[in-house]
């Protein structure tokens, strides 16, 4: 967080409306900043910005900081916040929306490549129709965490020995129709046009 005073002109007061216009963001304005989400969140203690604070920042128009925040990427999708939010806000789903926005606008946290994992995962599914855990991990780890991959190789080997890591990807058969569906889906983009990293895969 920058220590500097923030000028309203540098903020994006429309950010709240932007999120509020999404189906999952429908109730975001009703946040009463109670902090229940942050208290519930298992990863909040490890985060710079708790979920509650993310909502305060959205409200303040700190769009850049929010999109660069690790919070959505470290959110574990556990839905604890969502089920207990007194304002009935779909917090977890908003975290997904923030991730999409971050990817689409290329405004990404510096010390995370979780977005790359998400893209690799999605690419794999679009291609084969199924997820190939081994292939995905290999690609992600080899590119981004080669050292960690070596450390984890014992686990991988053991998984393979137990028959839990098939070497080859399984592909669905009706790939033709599947691809048409995927292409159509990818043509819909809730982000503003002209976004950098977004769009078709």
């Amino acid at each position: 967080m920058e220590a500097d005073v923030r000028y309203e002109a540098d903020l994006d007061p429309g950010f709240l409306d932007e999120i509020a216009s999404l189906p999952e963001g429908e109730r975001i304005r009703h946040c009463i900043q109670c902090g229940n989400c942050s208290g519930m969140c298992p990863v909040a203690p490890m985060l710079e910005h708790s979920p509650r604070r993310i909502f305060a920042m959205i409200r303040a128009g700190l769009k850049d900081e929010v999109l660069r925040s690790l919070t959505p990427w470290v959110c574990s999708s556990c839905y604890r916040c969502t089920v207990k939010c007194p304002a009935d806000i779909k917090i977890t789903d908003i975290m997904y929306a923030l991730k999409r926005r971050a990817i689409a606008s290329g405004t990404l946290p510096e010390d995370s490549d979780a977005h790359r994992f998400a893209r690799l995962f999605t690419e794999g599914v679009c291609k084969n129709g199924r997820t190939h855990e081994m292939g995905l991990l290999m690609r992600y780890m080899a590119f981004h965490h080669p050292i960690a991959m070596m450390k984890q190789s014992g686990l991988g080997m053991r998984m393979m020995a137990k028959g839990r890591m098939p070497l080859f990807a399984h592909k669905i058969s009706d790939r033709d129709h599947f691809r048409k569906m995927v292409e159509k889906a990818l043509s819909f983009d809730e982000m503003e046009p002209g976004s950098s990293e977004g769009g078709a895969l």
Binding site: M1, E2, V5, R6, Y7, E8, A9, L11, P13, L16, D17, R29, H30, C31, I32, Q33, R52, R53, A56, M57, R59, A60, L62
Partner: protein, 676 residues
Amino acid sequence: MSNVRIGVYVCHCGSNIAGKVDVKAVAEFARGLPGVVVARDYIFMCSEPGQELIQNDIREQRLNRVVVASCSPLMHEGTFRKACSRVGLNHYLMQMANLREQCSWVTLDGEAATEKAKALVAGAVGKTRFLQPLNEREVSVKQAVLVVGGGIAGIQAALQCADAGYKVYLVERKQSIGGHMAMFDKTFPTLDCSACILTPKMVSVGQHPNIELMAYSEVEEVGGYVGNLRVKVRHKAAYVDHDKCNGCGVCLEKCPARVPNEFEQGRGQRRAIYTMFPQAVPNKPVIDADVCRFFTKGKCGVCEKFCKNGAIDLKQQDRISEVEVGAVILATGHQVFDAEKMPRYGYGKYPDVYSALDFERMVNAGGFSGGEVRCADGRQPEAVGLVHCVGSRDQNHLRYCSQVCCMYSLKFAHLIKEHTGAQVYNFYIDMRCVGKGYEEFYDRLLEEGVRFVRGKVAEVSMHAKHPSEEGKLIVQVEDTLAGVVRRIPLDMLVLANGLQSRDDADSVGRLFGVSRNQNGFFIEQHPKLNPIGTPNHCVFIAGTCAGPKDIPHAVAQASAAAAGAMTVLRQESVLLESIAARVREEVCSGCRTCLDVCPYDAVRFDEEAGRASIDETMCRGCGTCVASCPSAAIEGRHFTDDQIESEIEGLLMSFADWRPKEKEEDQASESASVVT
């Protein structure tokens, strides 16, 4: 005093007393006091079985004096008095010792508390030995109510009493009743129009056969005693004969002298002859002699010329009338905090910084701008800020929460959006939306897209630090929830002034014998169980004179106060305390000292005999004359010299061989040194 038989009853008050005071030891101690024939302790003396304990002893042990050592007499003196008189013991022979408020609750050390309790009991026993039976006197109650203040609380109280058939005098200082509520545009959280719900009530007041409305008048003096108050009211000279005036309003148009209109917060103008607003009740004008040309320049009289009814009476004088009432309801209201005391908010400096009342009048269709929300230069604002807690929750100004500002700021936010579509920022410390439908209203405003920034506005300036700030009012505030300091440029700023007690609350309180808390608001008899009563049994308080509150609460309190006042009247007679002073004529030297000191005007002087005497109906037993009489000729009944001396003896006796315990550190170091 050989025939004195005293029973002492030490109450545990659950653990309130027994948790600190060794009640058994106190009872044991009491058994040894002169005149005491029985001493007991019990968990709740005020309970049925507790009272029966006392009554049985009175019967079986032939007690003729009782000491109850429990809580404050304010709580239970009545209970124990009744318990005694039910079995035939004159209730002036019952004495209380306060072991709770004056002992267990205020003493940390248990041992010291027990010693103090013993002293208090010994004092009470000492006094009791000399108590004499007294008889109360019954007096009738005047069947009328005085309501002071014609805001919504006063209006409500007056109508309620009048509808129930009681005669009501409603005194209002200003030209019209209506109070602050008459200035408001809408009311939260329902957003119904303030005037639309208020004016019907004002009209009812004006027309009610049981209400005598005394507008443009002030209470000058209050005399008399419980149920029989004599109140002098000053009717300020209006220079208009209201019996002749039919309220046609011609004079209001013709008068050439103009001054800033207070009702419009000085932003519009009124004439020297005026009614406060078109729906004023009474709808008869008054002349402001300070600005009227006839009075300031010695010539004019335009109104006189134009008035077809010959109602203008420029020779009119203030008039004093006197009314007799059985009960009083104080509904004198509040004043708003003056934001100029917080220069950092720029009120009075920047034209686009408005107070809450300024804004009420601005947004009101009948107000100075015809309901247009516009900046001073006529622009429609695009960004408006609302600063909560102006003056409130601040040790430098008002230490308390003014209770209504969060809600009226939300109301403003809604109105601003509705009138201008501007971006609205609410700067708040906490949102306090406690009331029916209030939280829901807050939620609605969140939905409407009003911005909320949690943080007390640090400062407002027009000192631009960024090109986007040029020509704007800039609010600097920490957004405590997002964790950043923000600078927000605005076109208009509305301050949520806190509510405070009126500058003259002190003198009003004195007039009616009502005291004020540290914040200047009138103190209720009991904060929970009697929030409308005062120690003066026929004086009630309602509305914001008793503390900040919103309209529904003011109305509810006013209705309760009306019920309280009517209860006094309905009883038709009251018992007067027999605790009064008495002049022993044979000793009186006729020096007249007592005449001057009596605050209740109860001393009479017989010129022929050259002796003073006391009107017992007026005397409240305060004892001032007793202490002041150089010849010691006056005796305070129930507080006679021998009673008080005996009480002091008792108090001191128990301390005769008691020394305060050494501090614990001292003891510890002592014992440590013994070891080494």
